[in-house]
């Protein structure tokens, strides 16, 4: 009963970190349930028996896990930053390494190099975790920026110039007013949902751009549409983003 053991370990780890929130238990449970269904499919356990035995548990967990699952990845990062928690690190790896490998392979590299991108990304996650600010970015956004930089570094072998907030020439944002602080967190939430509110055509352009690292000129070639059309789709999408962050230009 490997999966039982696994769940127990997870539960213990969650206790160790002094949290009684169920969300930290869920992602591993999801895998445990998945493993049982796989065993059931392979016929080692009679299918009806296996599924039946787990069904109420699975339903309960799945129902609870849907809205909570994104929240827990931010918690993992905070635990890595504050407690150097390897358990949280492994859970974050389990949740995101397969996506980062997929991301790395999107611009045409083989699996070996993609594994290298995964490795270097997670080394940096460990080292830079204290720079993660859950009030500013979601875990997936922060991981995207690290994976993107590693992909540029390893595949294109070049430096990516980036602003540095410790730079004396850096101009910080004006001090937020108390009313702004609330709207900032709302803004982050709205931005996360912003993608779905774009038209399928606008989404397509942004996805090709982000995932395959295609310059907008090549996005036009790939889609076989005029460059002007791509530019106007980008401008419309950006207009949408600007309205979400209250930046009217």
């Amino acid at each position: 009963m490997r999966c039982d053991l696994k769940s127990r370990t997870v539960r213990n780890e969650a206790m160790d970190i002094g949290s009684s929130r169920p969300s930290e238990l869920l992602s591993e449970h999801k895998y445990a349930v998945g493993a049982v269904s796989r065993v059931a499919r392979q016929g080692r356990v009679s299918k009806s028996q296996g599924v039946k035995a787990f069904k109420p548990e699975r339903e309960r967990l799945f129902a609870a896990s849907m809205p909570m699952s994104t929240e827990s990845t931010e918690d993992y990062l905070v635990l890595i930053a504050t407690k150097r928690d390897r358990g949280a690190f492994k859970k974050l790896f389990a949740a995101f390494a397969p996506k980062i490998k997929s991301f790395a392979m999107r611009n045409g590299v083989g699996p070996e190099l993609a594994e290298e991108v995964v490795q270097e990304t997670f080394i940096r996650v460990w080292r830079k975790a204290e720079q993660f600010d859950p009030g500013k970015a979601s875990a997936s956004t922060w991981l995207y920026t690290i994976a993107r930089n590693q992909r540029i570094d390893l595949l294109r072998k070049r430096h990516r110039p980036e602003p540095d907030f410790e730079d004396p020439a850096f101009v910080p944002e004006p001090e937020p007013q108390p009313s702004d602080v609330i709207s900032r967190s709302e803004e982050a939430l709205r931005l996360r949902q912003c993608m779905e509110s774009l038209s399928p055509e606008q989404q397509e352009v942004l996805k090709l751009s982000f995932m395959e690292e295609l310059p907008h000129v090549e996005v036009a070639e790939r889609l076989g549409i005029p460059l002007g059309t791509v530019k106007s789709r980008i401008r419309l999408a950006m207009k949408h983003i600007r309205s979400e962050i209250g930046d009217i230009r």
Partner: protein, 217 residues
């Protein structure tokens, strides 16, 4: 400081996605250092990218990859001393640019460009894209020219003006091959800017054209 001229939307997107070439990226990262407004738009784009990443289908990761990562976690935990400048010092060149020049303006080794201007190449890519710092004396013009391709110019000190507008610190002008302009540095202070081009400039005057191979722009 109010910035009135910002990078084009599609260039900001290409910067965020990582598709933008290095020389152009220096100019965008330098602009972002001084423009909180564009930084918010860029992080808005990153939020969208993060939500796309989260929806990607999974690729099976080799179990040995996690082992290698875990075995390497402690190895690089040395603290690097990042402060190369006193944080109270007033600097002109933001960090993304200093990374290429090796220091602030006082360390830049200017070379003559034509009769009045000076330049220093910051980054030259194999496809012909060049990022260079330009210094135009206060009140002096740059000879009237058009562009074989795209050009972006980011003002770092002083200001320049042409028929498109007035450009001050942090402002970025983007022009393409269709534009002919005759920018001049606003009197009072030398104008220092970062210019990125992907093709040589085309000067209208015969003298400037003849000088071009000699001065190298």
């Amino acid at each position: 400081m109010t910035i009135n001229h910002h990078p084009r939307e599609e260039m900001l997107l290409d910067y965020v996605s990582g598709a933008l070439g290095e020389a152009w990226s220096i100019a965008i990262a330098t602009h972002l250092s001084v423009c909180p407004q564009c930084r918010r738009v860029a992080s808005g784009l990153e939020t969208l990218a993060g939500s796309v990443l989260k929806e990607l289908s999974d690729e099976v990761v080799e179990p040995s990859t996690l082992d290698s990562v875990l075995s390497r976690l402690e190895e690089g935990e040395r603290r690097t001393n990042r402060m190369e400048l006193d944080s109270l010092e007033v600097v002109c060149l933001p960090k993304p640019l200093r990374d290429y020049t090796g220091g602030d303006l006082d360390t830049v080794r200017w070379k003559r460009l034509g009769p009045v201007a000076h330049q220093v190449v910051v980054c030259a890519e194999s496809d012909g894209t060049v990022a260079r710092l330009l210094r135009i004396p206060a009140g002096k013009p740059v000879p009237e020219h058009s562009h074989g391709g795209d050009e972006i110019t980011l003002v770092l000190r002083g200001a320049f003006e042409d028929h498109l507008g007035l450009y001050e610190r942090g402002d970025m002008q983007s022009v393409d091959a269709s534009i002919t302009h005759r920018p001049y540095a606003v009197p009072g202070e030398d104008c220092i800017c970062l210019a990125v081009t992907d093709a040589p400039l085309q000067f209208r005057s015969m003298t400037a054209r003849l000088l071009q191979p000699v001065v190298g722009i």
